[in-house]
């Protein structure tokens, strides 16, 4: 099959071949989106719908701080807003990681603990961020505490489930063998236990960060007076579509940058010791994004575990 395709594509030369390459399609996509945007712009009878230039100008002014918009006395520009959100996200993320790891380890080791927590963790996992966003806004007012709790509530269940799966998947026969050859415990931990836990831990980090962020921005809309979520709501309330779309694009850029600059290189480093598996997945041109790692690891268990772990795959806000 592979050879057939290769000869076929080699037979085409010049322009048709370039046009048929997936890379061309990939480059083409943003232009098609832009075309649709212009189409809507010229057909939609709306005074507020912005043209792409308007949004680009708005974004440029926000980046260079020349727009003259001051949001509030504390967080007056884009960078401060994003910084506040990042700070909340990081604090909440570490709390979620610690709490989640402890509960996840306990659930993986003991069946009793697992039965105790299981349904409640699954319930929290499926809970929309909106519910605790609206509640936290009332309960705690517009402080940093509400958004941080939101990150913990959104992220911890993902950490718990992934760590639990990691513990369950430790290679029992390797540990048994190490015991029979009297390998010291710290060596077993370092060479067997940690490496087998590593991918699950990494998936946990990735999920908790992504989901925590999604929960956080919703919470910032209802339970904060600053931060990224609040800023896009600011433009929505002001009924300025170019502001909303501009910030939506900032959100997307932020999320993609986090993926490509932080998590992808981290994944490469964390899995250097592993043979091919990930490389194969990537070479196939897998859809990138948050889901990839989780996909890979949660899927194996799906077959034996059935229902509950699979939630993690679609879990999203």
């Amino acid at each position: 099959m592979a050879t057939a395709v290769a000869t076929a594509s080699r037979a085409q030369r010049g322009l048709p071949r370039i046009l048929r390459s997936p890379t061309t399609a990939r480059i083409l996509f943003p232009f098609v989106v832009l075309g649709i945007w212009y189409f809507i712009y010229y057909t939609l009878d709306s005074r507020i719908f912005p043209s792409p230039q308007q949004v680009a100008v708005f974004m440029w002014e926000e980046i260079t701080l020349t727009s003259g918009v001051r949001y509030s006395s504390v967080a007056e520009n884009l960078y401060v807003q994003f910084g506040i959100t990042l700070m909340r996200l990081t604090i909440g993320f570490f709390i979620a990681l610690i709490v989640g790891t402890i509960i996840g380890l306990a659930m993986g080791v003991s069946k009793k603990v697992d039965a105790f927590f299981h349904d409640w963790v699954m319930g929290l996992l499926a809970m929309p961020a909106l519910v605790y966003a609206l509640f936290l806004g009332l309960a705690l007012g517009f402080t940093n505490v509400g958004p941080i709790i939101a990150v913990v509530l959104a992220g911890a269940p993902f950490v718990i489930i992934n760590i639990r799966e990691g513990v369950r998947n430790t290679p029992k026969e390797l540990i048994d063998m190490a015991r029979s050859f009297e390998v010291p415990q710290n060596k077993v931990t370092r060479h067997v236990l940690l490496p087998s836990l590593m991918p699950f831990f990494f998936a946990a980090i990735r999920y908790a960060y992504a989901v925590g962020w999604k929960g956080l921005v919703i919470t910032e809309v209802f339970a904060s007076d600053r931060g990224m979520g609040w800023t896009i709501k600011f433009w929505y309330d002001a009924h300025r579509a170019h502001g909303v779309i501009g910030y939506a694009l900032f959100f997307i850029i932020f999320a993609l940058a986090l993926e490509k600059l932080v998590f992808d290189p981290l994944a490469d480093r964390a899995f250097k010791w592993r043979p091919k598996m990930d490389a194969v997945q990537m070479a196939e041109g897998d859809f990138g994004g948050v889901q990839r790692e989780g996909f890979l690891f949660i899927e194996d268990q799906e077959i034996e575990e059935g229902a509950d772990t699979t939630v993690a795959k679609g879990g999203n806000f």
Binding site: M1, R20, S21, P22, T23, T24, A25, R26, L28, I48, K111, K112, V113, A115, F116, F117, H118, D119, W120, A126, M127, P128, A129, L130, V131, L134, F135, G137, L138, A139, K214, V217, I218, V221, I232, Y236, A241, V244, I245, A248, F251, I252, A255, L258, E284, G285, F287, G288, G289, Q291, F295, E302, I303, G306, A307, K313, G314, G315, N316, F317
Partner: protein, 277 residues
């Protein structure tokens, strides 16, 4: 002789089996004990917390359970459910179609390249930005919330369908190509039947994302439905009503997702060994 052998063998096994069975039974009993203990603990903790910080701000489980019949008596309960379910039906239905079509298109490397960035973007971005963008452009018109639901949900459907595409039986496809079977027939007779269970999984995962974003759009742009009722109850500081709305719909959605969809998935595909697990 034959009868004695036959007679003895099952008996010997059944003793072993019985021991295993008893062990498993004990394990199940233990599991249930701890499960119930978990429920008791968390519900009691919730009730305690409610007493400490005040039942008006955080109503306990008992009070919420009492509020649900009140909401049903007021007549708004079922109409709100109906409004939200209609929205889910339209918005998620469309997202599901879009997701499947894109997923099937990814068989071709060209379309895969074309859509891959859109799928990544949709997966990493929060539903909030699509909700606000759709609503600021189209206001209360249906296009606004349909846009939000489709943009948030289609990628979840697509990646599950694409998963199926990746597992397609290559040999069958190659053979059909070699024998000159038309593309449409190949799709209809090999690809679609093979994808069926993956599509079902896509439906389940898509739904779990879809209902949440639907409720979120209702908060911003609706005058009926669960999201709207939640928002109003919160603004009027009727937290018992707020939690009653949130939890009743939450349980309903979980029931649809975990029980209805998952059960029917297992039933439909019991005949397929690689799917039935």
């Amino acid at each position: 002789v034959a009868t004695t052998v036959e007679h003895r063998a099952p008996e010997a096994r059944s003793a072993e089996e019985e021991r295993l069975l008893a062990l498993r039974k004990r394990e199940t009993r233990q599991r249930w004990f701890w499960r119930i203990a978990g429920y008791v603990f968390f519900l009691a903790a919730w009730e305690m917390l409610s007493r400490i910080i005040g039942p008006n701000l955080l109503p306990g489980p008992v009070r919420i359970a009492q509020t649900i019949p009140e909401l049903i008596a007021s007549g708004r309960f079922f109409s709100s459910f109906a409004a939200t379910l209609t929205r889910i039906g339209i918005g998620f239905g469309l997202a599901f179609l879009v997701g499947i079509v894109i997923g099937i298109l990814t068989q071709s490397r060209w379309w895969h390249g074309f859509f891959r960035d859109s799928v990544t973007t949709s997966l990493v971005s929060p539903s909030l930005i699509w909700a606000l963008t759709g609503l600021v452009i189209w206001g209360f018109e249906p296009q606004g919330w349909i846009f939000a639901i489709v943009m948030t949900t289609f990628a979840v459907v697509t990646i599950n369908v694409a998963e199926g595409i990746r597992a397609l039986p290559r040999d069958l496809i190659d053979m059909s190509r070699a024998f000159g079977v038309t593309n449409w027939r190949r799709q209809r007779e090999i690809v679609f039947p093979f994808l069926a269970p993956f599509v079902f999984t896509a439906l389940r995962f898509g739904f779990s994302v879809g209902w949440k974003v639907t409720v979120l759009t209702e908060v911003f742009s609706s005058n009926e439905g669960i999201g709207f009722e939640m928002r109003v109850a919160q603004q009027l500081f009727r937290m018992d009503e707020f939690f009653a709305w949130a939890i009743s719909f939450f349980i309903f959605a979980l029931f649809l997702e975990k029980v209805v969809l998952q059960r029917s998935e297992r039933r439909f595909f019991r005949w397929r060994q690689e799917v039935a697990s």
